[in-house]
């Protein structure tokens, strides 16, 4: 075990970890918004909107994320005739992927809210959207916290896939350092520990939120 190779490269790795956090945070935030819109679209009265939303979810969940990344980074530029920045491609791929999963989480959350809540809201003269916003979504969100936490953790780990398009997050940094130093054990070990240091606090945070929102 060569500790020197770890200490001398730690800063590079930590910078990569920062990139991982950044891309995950942006992807989950975008995924959150996409997911909310798509989950509502799946309950739309218009069959075309429902169909588009369903297709989106099916396609994203039914294909590997690696393929999605390649589609955006390599295939899309051929179609639009313009190069896409690796960071933009990485964030886009992760966001679009996350949105599909988050929409399913929200859909389950919304369906878990008792039907009587919608009836009570509508009987008071609230519109469908007002009832959704003030009554259904807050309750659905509460039910969605645990699976959303899981999705956040999964996204953080899956963001390592964007290393394949050369975006220098934690995984890619590790690869680059190993290419120079051949210190696979030390570097992959360190990379794994850094990932753990990021995911464990998130699961703690989720557990805390769960407790907090359950206590009324």
């Amino acid at each position: 075990m060569d500790w020197n190779v770890i200490t001398s490269n730690l800063q590079l790795l930590l910078y990569g970890a920062w990139m991982t956090i950044k891309i995950t945070a942006v992807a989950v935030s975008c995924g959150f918004i996409i997911g909310l819109i798509v989950s509502l679209a799946r309950m739309s009265n218009f069959i075309l909107i429902r169909l588009i939303a369903k297709c989106y979810v099916d396609i994203i969940r039914g294909t590997p994320m690696l393929v999605q990344i390649f589609m955006i980074y390599f295939a899309l530029p051929q179609i639009i005739g313009m190069r896409i920045d690796p960071y933009v491609a990485a964030v886009a791929a992760c966001s679009i992927n996350s949105g599909a999963y988050v929409s399913e989480i929200f859909r389950a959350g919304i369906q878990s809210v008792d039907k009587g809540q919608m009836e009570a809201g509508r009987s008071l003269g609230l519109t469908w959207w007002q009832t959704m916003r003030h009554i259904i979504i807050p309750q659905a969100f509460k039910a969605s916290i645990p699976p959303l936490g899981n999705e956040f953790i999964a996204m953080l780990k899956d963001s390592s896939l964007v290393s394949v398009i050369g975006f220098e997050e934690l995984m890619r940094r590790g690869q680059l350092i190993i290419a120079k130093t051949y210190a696979a054990t030390e570097i992959w070990g360190t990379v794994a520990i850094i990932y753990l240091c990021m995911t464990l606090p998130i699961s703690r945070l989720v557990a805390y939120l769960e407790r907090k929102y359950n206590v009324k």
Partner: protein, 239 residues
């Protein structure tokens, strides 16, 4: 105040309402009784279009409920109380009472709070304004639910088995609130199994079975001299 004209409702192939004709005057207290599955709750729920009829017309306060643009407006005039309360669990009692006032009636928050507090006082729960519904007993929940509906100053109140989910010792407190409403002249339609309450408070009793109104008269007419055999059979089982 309320007119149902040949209202029919089917769920799939199952026709639960087979042509309901009904006229309810302002200030009338109408109690609907009938066996479970008779369609009595469905009749009530067409009166604010929570159940949209398959055919027929529902007119409340001069407005046809099939007019989607007017539906929300009509609903603000029609308060509803549910068997399972359907309070909003993530809001305090006070917020339950002010949400629709603020968002539908556009009342400012302070005025909405004042209205809410007066109503809570009226149902004897002013000390519960800032607690969450989960900490209330069933009877208290239902009284909050009544206050929530009243906060919109409705012209009609619909009650869908308001005491069926309550422990027996809590039924009275809810019925007392309902009786005081009736005494004030509120137009009320009540689906209930509380026959004593029906006799005491109702101006009219309807017996519904098989999706039809089989009996329509004063409490003494319906309870003491029912005309249809099915009404007699039903009453003999429950009285």
């Amino acid at each position: 105040m309320i007119d149902l004209k040949d209202v029919r409702k089917s769920f799939g192939k199952n026709e639960v309402l087979k042509g309901i004709n009904l006229h309810i005057d302002k200030g009338e207290v109408v109690v609907i009784i009938g066996p479970s599955g008779s369609g009595k709750s469905t009749v009530l729920r067409t009166m604010n279009y929570l159940e949209e009829p398959t055919s027929g017309q529902v007119i409340v306060d001069g407005m046809d409920l099939s007019d989607k643009n007017k539906l929300n407006e009509v609903r603000t005039e029609v308060g509803m109380v549910f068997q399972n309360f359907n309070l909003f669990p993530h809001m305090t009692v006070l917020e339950n009472l002010t949400l629709a006032q603020i968002n539908v009636r556009k009342t400012d928050k302070k005025a909405a709070n004042d209205i809410a507090m007066k109503l809570l006082e009226r149902v004897g729960l002013s000390d519960k304004a800032n607690v969450y519904p989960d900490s209330l007993s069933g009877g208290q929940k239902q009284r909050v639910a009544i206050a929530r509906a009243l906060a919109m100053k409705p012209k009609v109140m619909l009650f869908d088995e308001p005491t069926s989910a309550l422990d027996p010792e809590m039924v009275r407190e809810v019925l007392d609130v309902m009786k005081s409403l009736a005494d004030e002249g509120m137009t009320m339609v009540i689906v209930t199994h509380e026959m004593g309450f029906a006799k005491e408070v109702a101006d009219r009793v309807l017996f519904v079975d098989g999706g039809l109104i089989l009996e329509d008269g004063s409490p003494s007419q319906v309870f003491d001299a029912p005309t249809s055999d099915r009404t007699k059979l039903f009453l003999s089982k429950i009285l």
